[in-house]
């Protein structure tokens, strides 16, 4: 039986951590994720958790401490944002290549500069090739639910990879919203215990974790790591199914909102998806066949399932028997890739669609940088533009444009 409550995204993540009661948390404060270790230290002081809470002098040390802890065979977690995550980049790769299923609560915030504390996905996008599983949340509910699923995904023997659960800084991390939470006992039963096959403190076997990799072996290890990421796809779906069976809330690689007969759609991640859904409802009320796809799993990237869903072919994560009605799609990035032709989500979604969705016209939209607000009306204008794109040759449609940026 779920409990009806209200809390901020940071409180929801902290609640999940209390219920999971990890063995080790090592963290350094940075806005807007600071509250998470603050709550955890209160839980610790109040005797609500058995976690060893390690206060460190930097995020690089936080992740290094998590690596040491997890390598010794226990659960380690941390939380960070923005420049804090950037300071972790070096060791994020170490955690992933050492196959340590650490869980990181990321509260997305712009990277400097200019210095800014608000929502942007540039921090976790900078870690997109680090080998971490990345799952994005629309609201406090999803941040909570994704945290409860994180260990099951990362610790699965077919996966053994670290997991980053992302939510938008301030927009959800500091907003009080309604939420359904679960009792401690069923959460603990769902999350289960961590029993790694190998770890440093196991007296029966001796293992080396993180030694120098000589050329005859590194390629094979990297291939194994990439294969683990591919295996994570099935595990993410299986864990989501079990989560739905246990707690009643349904998740997949992505959510399709009113996509059944949609002709125009936007695809995006995070909190703006909720605002987009309000726009879709308004447009549907006016007879416009609008739809929305909210990507939840960015790593591993669900290329097949997305291509199948967007082209109307049945596929895992997509729905069977749809007609392929989609005519134009806006792929929205809350980060600037500085590639000169858009953001990372735009590039990857288009790569996934190449050769599999003939005739679907696409545009990449950069939005929300530095916390710039995106309104329902912005989405409505975007759908009008998607309609207008029908009258254009694909080669005349710009690769990318920005939304909500002041002109002049």
């Amino acid at each position: 039986m779920s409990n009806r409550g209200r809390m901020s995204g940071n409180e929801a993540v902290a609640l999940a951590i209390r219920q999971i009661d990890p063995d080790v948390i090592a963290a350094f404060p940075i806005t807007p994720s600071t509250e998470i270790p603050q709550f955890v230290s209160r839980f610790k002081a109040d005797g609500l958790i058995t976690t060893e809470f390690i206060t460190v002098e930097s995020e690089h040390s936080a992740m290094s401490a998590c690596i040491g802890a997890e390598a010794s065979g226990v659960r380690a977690m941390t939380a960070t944002s923005s420049a804090g995550m950037a300071l972790m980049y070096e060791v994020l790769y170490v955690a992933a290549s050492d196959r340590l299923p650490i869980v990181l609560a990321a509260v997305n915030r712009a990277l400097t500069g200019p210095i800014n504390i608000n929502a942007e996905h540039s921090d976790s996008m900078g870690a997109r090739d680090s080998g971490w599983i990345q799952i994005y949340s629309e609201n406090a509910q999803e941040a909570y639910d994704n945290m409860l699923m994180a260990h099951r995904i990362g610790e699965h023997p077919d996966v053994m990879l670290p997991v980053m659960i992302c939510q938008d800084g301030f927009i959800t991390s500091h907003a009080i919203e309604n939420i359904l939470t679960e009792d401690d006992a069923p959460v603990r039963a769902f999350v289960g215990t961590y029993e790694p096959e190998h770890h440093l403190l196991d007296p029966e076997t001796s293992v080396a974790i993180g030694p120098y990799g000589v050329s005859p072996y590194v390629f094979e290890l990297k291939r194994a790591q990439a294969y683990a990421m591919e295996c994570a796809r099935d595990v993410i779906i299986d864990v989501a199914k079990d989560f739905e069976k246990t707690f009643g809330r349904s998740y997949g690689f992505f959510e399709e909102y009113r996509m059944d007969d949609a002709e125009f759609a936007v695809l995006l991640m995070g909190s703006a998806a909720g605002t987009g859904k309000v726009a879709v409802d308004r447009l549907r009320g006016r007879g416009v066949k609008a739809g929305l796809v909210k990507l939840r799993t960015f790593r591993p990237f669900p290329a097949d399932a997305l291509a199948a869903a967007l082209s109307g072919r049945s596929g895992r994560g997509g729905r069977d028997g749809r007609g392929g009605t989609l005519k134009s799609l806006a792929i929205m990035d809350r980060s600037e890739g500085f590639s000169g032709f858009g953001g990372p989500l735009g590039a990857e979604v288009r790569a996934a669609l190449y050769g599999r969705a003939d005739g679907l016209k696409t545009i990449n939209i950069i939005y929300g940088l530095g916390g710039r607000d995106v309104r329902v009306e912005d989405f409505e204008d975007l759908y009008t533009e998607l309609d207008a794109m029908q009258g254009m040759e694909a080669r005349d449609i710009p690769y990318v444009r920005s939304l909500g940026q002041r002109e002049g």
């Binding site: 608000n118 609201n139 938008d168 907003a175 605002t275 607000d373």
Partner: protein
């Protein structure tokens, strides 16, 4: 859906008031949002906080541009910040001020969007706060005024929810709870309607 926009300065508690209003409306069975918009984090800088209250789930995650209620926590913001921007026709404007009704009316006379159909309420939240708390923390009295105007919660339930919220918030500072509670009770009926109709939803069918 009721949308509320709070204008204050850093340190005056506009964000806290918005979060507590969300608590109160939640207790009354509603779906709620309460969130701040941060600029530079410093005492005295203008800040904005927001509430959405609805009887169905709230999915929108943008700021509020067409509020039903605007709360001016610090009257020195009038003129410096466009506090009434987008205020809905028939909406309400709550101003923390010790000025007489005539002066408050005059302050907004001719302001875009503040027509005769906008109800303006004046409450001397600073005075209520100083008398009850010994400090100028205007957010507590204003919270009470706004909670009443929303019409989503009755006085008894509101006072009960706030008592609980303060017990938790001030668990290590219990001496301030009583003052906050008397400030809330005094402010519930403490606003003066200086222009327009009484928009308080109390006693009406929603």
């Amino acid at each position: 859906m009721i949308e509320i926009r709070w204008h204050g300065r850093g340190g005056q508690g506009a964000k806290t008031a918005a979060l507590l209003l969300a608590d109160a409306a939640f207790a009354a069975g509603l779906y709620v949002q309460g969130f701040p918009e941060y600029g530079p984090e410093r005492m005295g800088a203008p800040i904005t906080a927001y509430n959405r209250l609805d009887d169905t789930a709230i999915r929108i995650h943008s700021n509020i541009y067409e509020p039903d209620i605007v709360v001016v926590v610090d009257e020195t913001l009038i003129g410096a910040v466009d506090v009434t921007a987008g205020l809905k026709p028939g909406g309400s404007l709550v101003v923390n001020t010790g000025r007489p009704a005539e002066e408050v009316r005059a302050k907004f006379a001719g302001t875009d969007g503040v027509g005769a159909d906008v109800s303006i309420y004046a409450v001397d939240a600073a005075d209520i706060s100083i008398r009850n708390l010994g400090r100028n923390l205007p957010n507590t009295p204003l919270l009470s005024v706004v909670a009443r105007l929303t019409g989503v919660i009755g006085e008894a339930q509101f006072i009960g929810v706030m008592q609980e919220a303060y017990e938790e918030k001030f668990a290590n500072k219990r001496e301030v709870i009583a003052g906050n509670m008397t400030a809330l009770k005094e402010a519930w009926n403490g606003a003066v309607l200086v222009s327009g109709d009484d928009t308080s939803g109390q006693g009406e069918e929603e």
